[in-house]
């Protein structure tokens, strides 16, 4: 440490940058970037693959539906069987989706907010329908409730028909679609943690009030997306419903089953017309999902697995 040394600098007002920018050749690429031609090639390949495998089938639905003009398109819906099918599909959705909503919220609450033994097993159970063939899903209900089934006698004695009737269709649909809402909520609620709810409790809120005013608002977009997806799948479920429904025209045909019947009868335009409704629903679902992700990316996130 020296003493008596004094630094004296004259006015240090901002001096503008001295020296011009040297003439530079066009920007070279960063080491973590690919050459432009590579980039273009890869993009082209990816887009080409997607167009070929995803877009073409989608476009086909609408092309085939309108192949004979809008007149023929609308004819498809004049058929009472078609209207019955649409009605049945809506009924199934209106029952299955809210039921799954309640389940999803309840399961997410139990799993995300508490620590308990057997949690991993429970989560695996919820993931199950994703790895089971829909036909197997339908089969297990037949094994249970058909007249030769395990509960067959029991069911017959009550007079309620399950297989080949609405209850069976609803149950099979629920089996295949119940995970969606739960799986949207669980990772998000786990990530959000318990602090918000605990804060609400310390401020005197009751359990229900805390739930409605704190928990739900935090997950509302994920919930919305889960419901949309659940609904799209509930309306579109084919394999499981096909097995339990018995294909009884006008009574147990949902829209997908109706499409199958029309197609097998070579009524292609009608089949695609009905199909186009479901395709439009799928597009709306995807559109809303895209918008949600764009706007509320953070609120949805946390381990977005399907």
């Amino acid at each position: 440490m020296s003493d008596g040394s004094v630094a004296l600098a004259v006015s240090l007002e901002e001096t503008p940058a001295v020296g011009s920018v040297a003439a530079h050749p066009p920007r070279r690429r960063l080491p973590t970037e690919e050459a432009p031609w590579v980039r273009r090639l890869l993009i082209g390949l990816a887009v080409g693959f997607l167009a070929l495998f995803l877009l073409l089938p989608l476009i086909t639905v609408f092309m085939e539906a309108f192949r004979k003009g809008s007149g023929a398109f609308l004819q498809a819906f004049a058929d009472p069987a078609a209207l019955d099918a649409i009605l049945l599909t809506l009924v199934v959705a209106v029952i299955a989706v809210p039921a799954n909503l309640v389940f999803g919220v309840a399961a997410a609450w139990a799993i995300a907010k508490f620590d308990f033994r057997g949690k991993a097993f429970l989560v695996t159970l919820i993931d199950l329908p994703f790895s089971v063939s829909p036909v197997v899903a339908g089969l297990v209900y037949v094994l249970l409730y058909a007249s030769h089934g395990i509960f067959g006698g029991l069911v017959q004695s009550t007079g309620i028909q399950i297989i080949f009737a609405l209850p069976g269709i609803i149950m099979a649909t629920i089996f295949v679609t119940f995970p969606f809402i739960a799986r949207e909520l669980i990772p998000l609620m786990e990530e959000l943690g318990n602090t918000d709810e605990e804060a609400a409790l310390t401020l005197g809120a009751s359990g229900w009030r805390m739930f409605w005013t704190v928990t739900l608002p935090n997950v509302k977009w994920a919930l919305l997306y889960g419901v949309l997806l659940c609904n799209a799948r509930a309306m579109g479920e084919f394999g499981a419903v096909s097995v339990v429904s018995g294909h009884i025209r006008g009574y147990t045909n949902t829209m997908p089953l109706h499409i199958e019947i029309l197609y097998n009868e070579y009524q292609f335009v009608a089949a695609f017309a009905v199909a186009s409704l479901l395709a439009a629903l799928a597009l709306v679902t995807l559109g809303i999902k895209s918008w949600l992700e764009h706007r509320y990316a953070g609120d949805l996130a946390a381990g977005h697995r399907h």
Binding site: A46, E64, F103, R117, V132, P134, V135, F272, A282
Partner: protein, 280 residues
């Protein structure tokens, strides 16, 4: 809450009992009971019977077709799924958001709708089918058609499992490899891909499991000729219609085994990746 004290960690938050009981009841009614029925039925058949039913010629052909086409489709989806994930994560281009959203189409579109659309497309008079016919190639109603339909079905699985992992890859790793002298291709192959491999495997397994059980997207394009182009799920439906519950159960049991096996495998992959890298 003395009942729950050893079972659940005490918490100030309410509602555990209510929600867990409801959840368990719901799952029991919807999942456990029906699956239990299947296991009960399968076990009452006895292993010997099960095996002989499973090894029946027609069943074997159906299983072979389902498994092989599913494996092939999932494998085919790996490089393309990887490519698509890369392009969506690393590059920006007009329409990127649109293509990102459309990846989920096979997921949101009803399988029956996909089924008839794919058939119309690949049938001899369809857009692609007619081009293929010029080369003497028949797609619809052959295993090739099944394969292409399963490619459609499985694509989102690979892309969506790889995407988030790729997005999280630390650019510094690539920079580090570059400072050490690795060229771009070498860097991607030796530094980025290994990080992605658990996700790729998981995506492959998910796509495979989904494809094996796929019904609606495939039965229209499959041809459904016994021993030739009949898929396993269809076999189950046919046996049910013939009231051959035992046969249907046998095939279903095998498919269930495959499903569980795949689920287990995925969990193992993820556990191992977590241990090794501290993430999935």
């Amino acid at each position: 809450m003395t009942l729950n004290a050893p079972f659940v960690k005490p918490s100030v938050l309410p509602g555990f009992r209510l929600t867990i009981i409801f959840t368990i009841l719901y799952l029991t009614a919807i999942v456990l009971l029906p699956l239990g029925a299947l296991l009960f039925r399968a076990s009452s058949l006895g292993v010997h019977e099960l095996v002989s039913l499973a090894l029946d010629g027609r069943t074997l052909s159906a299983l072979k077709l389902s498994f092989l086409t599913s494996l092939a489709a999932a494998a085919f989806n790996v490089p393309f799924g990887l490519l698509i994930a890369w392009v969506l994560v690393r590059y920006d281009f007009p329409g990127r958001r649109f293509f990102d959203a459309i990846i989920d189409l096979p997921f949101a579109l009803p399988t029956a709708v996909a089924g008839i659309a794919l058939t119309a497309l690949y049938a001899p008079k369809g857009w692609i089918g007619s081009i293929a016919a010029l080369f003497g190639l028949k797609i619809a109603f052959t295993p090739l058609g099944v394969f292409l339909a399963l490619v459609f079905v499985g694509l989102p699985f690979i892309v969506r499992t790889v995407q988030p992992v790729l997005a999280e890859v630390d650019r510094e790793l690539e920079e580090a490899a570059a400072t050490l002298g690795a060229g771009r291709l070498r860097t991607v192959a030796s530094v980025v891909l290994p990080v992605l491999s658990p996700a790729i495997l998981t995506g492959f397994a998910l796509a495979f499991a989904r494809a094996v059980g796929e019904y609606g997207s495939v039965i229209f394009i499959a041809g459904n000729i016994p021993y030739v182009s009949e898929i396993a799920p269809l076999l189950i439906v046919i046996k049910l219609e013939e009231f051959d519950y035992a046969g249907a159960t046998a095939v279903a049991a095998i498919m269930l085994l495959v499903s569980f096996g795949t689920l287990l495998l995925i969990n193992l992959i993820q556990a191992r990746a977590r241990a090794r890298y501290g993430h999935v």
